[in-house]
Symmetry: C2
Subunit: 130 residues, 2 copies
Amino acid sequence: MNIGEVAEAAGVPPKTIRYYEEIGLIRPQRGDNGYRHFRESDLHKLAFLGRARALGFSIADCRVLLALYEDEARSSAEVKALAEQHLAEIDAKIAGLTEMRETLGDLVRSCAGDNRPDCPILSSLADPES
Amino acid sequence: MNIGEVAEAAGVPPKTIRYYEEIGLIRPQRGDNGYRHFRESDLHKLAFLGRARALGFSIADCRVLLALYEDEARSSAEVKALAEQHLAEIDAKIAGLTEMRETLGDLVRSCAGDNRPDCPILSSLADPES
DNA sequence: CTTGACCTTCCAGTGACTGGAACCCCCATT
DNA sequence: AATGGGGGTTCCAGTCACTGGAAGGTCAAG
């Protein structure tokens, strides 16, 4: 398979695939014309990476996950630990965003949104104590 | 005030303040020694920026917010529209993260986390249909 | 006069791509 | 044989909002 075909099949853009090769996540073969040639195992890896990224794992995490996936002697505890750590990060992000959402939501609700200049949103940004 | 003092007072690091000057968000004066000199209005702006950033507004949004803040003829509707747009982005982010959280949470719950290699997390990443 | 804290600029790196330019290759049609 | 279009290739730059670090100037205290 050429890069376009595997990109389509794995749901990962060609640019991203080239980037993944550059950082050593995959190592496709090369044909005589210099084209990358992808085997089934490459496609498999790319789809794996696409799903891991969609779950928010960093590239560093993905590297570890791929290594664990290919390590027959892994323990599921290692994988679970990584996933739980990531889950905690997601929770932290959600908590931060939720707090933002609440604060900003309050401000938006308190703003008339008419053509007068008085605006509690700006007032609060300028001085939340006032 | 010098940069350290205003950084402390506004809760914005010196590096960030220099960056904000570089991109034209603030224009502190300069002393004969080349040091930046910050007036009360600069401090005020920096604190404003710090709070807007803490609410997740982008630098581009902050630029607009500052301009609106300084525009006596603004309408609160303009501010509210910007805030509502940002609120929608926050909601979208929260929704995305929440979905990740659920999927990943399911996987983590289904993983024994023992010293055997069998791992539903890896299996699902490799092939979610299986 | 020296020390140390503070200030300056400039350059590079972060994460994970993404866009674009310049160029090469392969196949099919004229 | 030429050509056209849709692949592919590399390399460079940009994104976002800083952040770290190096090399060097300035200032106040002791």
